[in-house]
Symmetry: C2
Subunit: 379 residues, 2 copies
């Protein structure tokens, strides 16, 4: 039998929660072995509030009136600018890149892309008529006290959208093993159809009460499997293995302490913060001259607000060598031929423990030079 | 003649910038007297890149193709779900509260409201046909090297929108003195028309090169004054005076250091971070049981990435007394009668200097108890 440990559970996306949770940090039990590589979509907690009566209620609650979550499948949502595609099972949403979603050079930040992935995924479930009161949990999941937890995320960015640009984001789901679900995304330029980014993620179910992984109940399989398709945004025959860094890593950012504003409504650190902590260890000169072309996150454990986090980062060995070569080429004006080169980094976020450290996320990032080559219309 | 000082200039909203800026922190001169109460909308820097040729260019740049900024006034924008109202001079945008814009209890965060204010303001200029390549600057402003700087922001929140709720945000502009502009906003529930929040702000122009305040050139007045109306979202006959706190303030949060992720694309702290720093000094027990009903920000100076910031916070004197009374009432079960009571706090963000401290923002916040009374549909 696996040992249980006490751990403050966070969740990977900014989500809602129930009020009692918000009023104080709670400790919950997680099974150490089964929770490995998992990250709780804890906001789904709210799903436990019993809104499965939505369909049968004759009198709507205030929240129901204000949210108007569909109880039947919708093909179009004009407010969300969403529509069902892929012969009835995929979802497409048109979005405009907002002024506060962009970073340097008016391009959307990685954090904004993660936010849009979350938003379109939830709107997909919203349109399906399956959404209960929680964040992405179906009615069947709520009846079984189940929540979604993400175990892995892989994002590839070919081109960063710019402020004011109109995008089409497609998302769909598929089977992942017997009890998991894959969710994929494609981001395209609405004007040209050029693909800007693609992403794939893996999700499993966790019992909200026991905090243990759960098989997918037949009731839930019945709800969601009709939406599964085979199509994959990123082909991954053998997912890249991410080595675990140790204290000898080249870059170490210690004493990262969640601030109140880093916490979500459950007073837990959210996954965008994880990405930030990872990227903050990348050396300034790389961040200034390069842009992220790919990121893989393996979620292993949550991080509470009282934890002290350490972010480790290690450039690939060949990159160090090449970097040295490049420096000398730069000095001599021969950089051009290396413009297309990418740099790889391995990441680890861990909680500093008294006796041992606890992994939160393992990550890999890949970076390419910022130049006009990132612009899809350049000739 | 006023003394000039060297100061790293930031801007109040997350904006874009030109590439050279991003590559390093720059020091620029600001006239100490004229820049007081100002905050640079520095992203508008990019406006200086000469896109005023947009209207006449026969060949569009890649950015122009991707952004498609209108060169003539538009009455409707289907992508932004925006339309021109108020007899041709106001702007209304329909938005859905996104999953990542909400905090506790599924309600939109103050930060999200600030973001939506920024977004709708810029989309208003976008629709006007006046927008140049910068963030909100008109063609005439770009020709005169002028950028917008915000000097004051006042936001009142009666009800916080919840996840999935459809909102209508109206924004319009008016004159403010001889050389300033007022911009107001109203946020309403689309379903019921109930007003959730209102805001007003004051803007002036600054020369992008000299960093000095500028009169409004006739050319620019000609562009924007036809859009001015008298209507006010918040009537303020005499704007509340905000006293300057000193080191005797009750709550002091020192050594706030901008992190890379707190910085905008210009590597300067953005104004949402200011709001966060201000709110982080509010005691936990107030934050957990109360919600912000109003905030006033007076922008006085920017904060650079190398600065160390101190956030001071002082509860109103009568609040302290009342809080003591309330604690005893709470213990005795007599709280009900005080539910409608609000709490006021005065704030100051300052840069810790070696010889003296420099004010960044003075602020006032007002808080009311979280209860069902915050729900507009409750009877």
């Amino acid at each position: 039998m696996a040992a249980a440990f006490s751990c403050s559970v966070s969740f990977p996306f900014t989500c809602s929660c129930n009020r009692s949770r918000y009023r104080g940090k709670v400790d919950i039990k997680i099974n150490a072995s089964s929770s490995s590589r998992l990250h709780t979509l804890d906001g789904i907690d709210g799903a436990g509030k019993g809104s499965s009566s939505l369909a049968t209620a004759t009198e709507l609650s205030e929240e129901q009136i204000r949210q108007r979550i569909p109880t039947k499948k919708q093909l179009v949502d004009t407010y969300r600018q969403g529509l069902i595609i892929e012969r009835g099972v995929g979802y497409r949403q048109t979005v405009v890149v907002r002024s506060y979603e962009v970073g340097p050079n008016k391009t959307a930040t990685l954090e904004s892309l993660f936010n849009l992935f979350q938003e379109t995924a939830l709107n997909h479930v919203w349109m399906s008529g399956l959404l209960s009161n929680g964040f992405g949990a179906t009615h069947g999941m709520v009846r079984n006290n189940l929540i979604w937890v993400v175990s892995r995320m892989h994002v590839q960015v070919d081109h960063y959208p710019i402020w004011g640009e109109v995008l089409e984001i497609d998302t769909w789901v598929g089977a992942s093993g017997k009890n998991g679900m894959r969710r994929d995304w494609l981001i395209r330029s609405q004007a040209t159809g050029i693909t800007y980014a693609r992403a794939t993620s893996t999700w499993v179910m966790m019992n909200d009460k026991t905090r243990r992984l759960s098989k997918m109940p037949e009731e839930v399989r019945g709800e969601i499997s009709p939406w599964f398709i085979e199509k994959q945004a990123i082909k991954e025959d053998v997912p890249e293995k991410i080595v675990k860094l140790d204290d000898n890593a080249t870059y170490v950012n210690s004493d990262l302490k969640p601030k109140r504003s880093d916490l979500d409504m459950n007073q837990h650190v959210n996954n965008v913060k994880y990405v930030r902590w990872m990227l903050e260890t990348i050396p300034d000169n790389i961040l200034e001259s390069h842009q992220l072309s790919g990121i893989i996150l393996e979620y292993r454990r949550e991080c509470g607000s009282s934890n002290t986090v350490q972010s480790l980062c290690q450039p690939d060995e060949d990159e160090i060598l090449t970097n040295g070569v490049e420096q000398s080429l730069l000095k001599n004006g021969y950089l051009g031929s290396l413009d297309s080169k990418t740099y790889g980094y391995t990441h680890l976020l861990q909680i500093k423990g008294e006796t041992r450290n606890e992994e939160i996320v393992r990550g890999r990032t890949r970076w390419r030079k910022k130049f006009s080559t990132v612009l899809p219309y350049s000739t």
